[in-house]
């Protein structure tokens, strides 16, 4: 309203040079001020919301990193691999123990085979004894025949002895036969055992190899996982750092906001230049106004702009962020 009145007032005055510009300016100034302020507010709002989002991103990255760290997943998997290796080594050890006990068994069986040989010799001894007893009985029968009637009882004894010797010979033979069977079985057991043992040994070493291969692969995979997890962690960290940096950079908004605020304030003050008490000359008032404006600057760029240094040559002020 005031502005309208001022414009109306100027219309009636004679028109000095620049009066149109001054009139346009006096009309446009409040609009500019409002436009600048709106732009400033919108920028501020957008930047604040942007910062909010960046902050959210950082928080999420933090959460993710924290989760990755607390889980320590890859290292646990590696521990599992080591433990698995130990367990499988125990299994292999158990298999070896079984094999060695079987070897001991085979040794015992071989000892038995030696006994079987001894038994065979004993049975042949029995046969020899039976043969000699038979000879003795035959000689006794001959003596009895020579003795005639007197030898009758002796002949009966001789007959009994012969029967015993025949029984002993048969028994000796059957012992020998059975011992032969047993010793054949033992030999077969030993040879079977040796075959099985050889096969077992191959199987054990093969499984051992397989287990080692599997474990090695598992270990390599685990290593890859660990590496990629570490890389991903590092990437996340660096992204987070970048975002933090960006967040810091976004604080330019404070500076631009202050600059724009100051411009708006200056424009508002400029509108009151004519309406104030006219104690001083116009030049004096402009100078005062400019000086006052200079005092409200908060950045070096503003001051340098004010003193007329081209803004393009300006060194950006060192960041004094808070």
């Amino acid at each position: 309203m005031d502005t309208q009145r001022e414009i109306d007032a100027t219309d009636e005055l004679p028109q000095p040079p620049g009066a149109v510009l001054a009139a346009a300016c006096s009309q446009a100034l409040p609009i500019w001020a409002k436009q600048i302020d709106t732009a400033r507010l919108q920028a501020q709002e957008a930047v604040v919301s942007l910062m909010q989002r960046f902050q959210n991103i950082i928080n999420r990255l933090d959460t993710a990193l924290g989760a990755a760290r607390s889980q320590a997943g890859a290292s646990t998997v590696a521990d599992d691999a080591v433990q698995g290796q130990q367990l499988l080594a125990q299994v292999i050890e158990a298999l070896r123990a079984i094999r060695s006990s079987r070897d001991a068994l085979a040794h015992e069986i071989r000892g038995l085979a030696a006994y079987a040989d001894e038994l065979r010799k004993m049975s042949s001894d029995v046969e020899i004894i039976a043969f000699k007893t038979n000879m003795l009985a035959l000689n006794a029968a001959i003596e009895a025949a020579h003795a005639g009637d007197v030898g009758k009882g002796f002949a009966v004894v001789a007959k009994e002895v012969r029967e015993l010797s025949a029984a002993a010979r048969d028994t000796g033979k059957s012992i020998g036969h059975k011992v032969g069977l047993i010793s054949n079985s033992l030999a077969q057991i030993v040879s079977t055992n040796e075959r099985v043992s050889t096969r077992d040994e191959a199987a054990v070493s093969e499984s051992e190899q397989h287990i080692h291969t599997v474990l090695e692969r598992f270990r390599q995979r685990t290593q890859l996982l660990t590496d990629s997890a570490a890389r991903s962690n590092a990437e996340s960290e660096s992204i987070k750092d970048d975002v933090c940096e960006a967040l810091v950079q976004l604080q330019f908004q404070d500076r631009t906001g202050q600059i724009l605020q100051q411009v708006v304030a200056s424009i508002t003050q400029a509108q009151q230049l004519d309406s104030g008490a006219n104690l001083e000359s116009a030049d004096q008032r402009v100078t005062d106004y400019l000086n006052g404006m200079a005092q409200t600057y908060t950045t070096d760029e503003q001051r340098q702009n004010h003193t007329g240094v081209a803004s393009g040559e300006l060194e950006p002020q060192g960041a004094t962020f808070f």
Partner: protein
Amino acid sequence: MSDVRTAIAATERAAATARGGATSAMPAEGPQQYLTFVLGGEVFAIGILAIREILEYATPTQVPMMPAYLCGVINLRGAVVPVIDLSIRFGRAGSAVSKRTCIIIIEVASGEELQQMGLLVDAVNAVVEIAPGEIEPPPAFGTRIRTDFIHGMATVDSRFIILLNVGSLLAAEELGQLAEAAAPNSPSAAA
């Protein structure tokens, strides 16, 4: 087994009938006891009263200048006894000695004296009892030994056995040779 039983049972009867002759002469009546033995896979028998005893094989001492069928001499309780390889005497190859090889000591009449001699056989079997009626005369041919050695043939356990005539195993002059071989140590049979 059964032959042994019959042999023993026969002892009682035989003792009464076959006494007194340690020669091959067989009384006609009553069953006689015989010792069966194996020679070259065939079974032979000798009258038990002609037999002195049976010995396990021991290597005889070789005597030079003696016929091939004479293996050598053995020391039988101080007496020198010649040992005859019956296989060679029968015109076959010599016996291979096994762990069942035996020497049968027999007594044969040599003139006025009884001459002891050993017969090398592959194995002795048993004492069997054979009745004189069961003895067949020796075949005219078909056996590989001189038939005057053979007293007869008999069947025991469905198997032919050859009964040897001990007195005819060696001719008189051969027996004389044996007596000479035995002479240095044992002029008379230690019966």
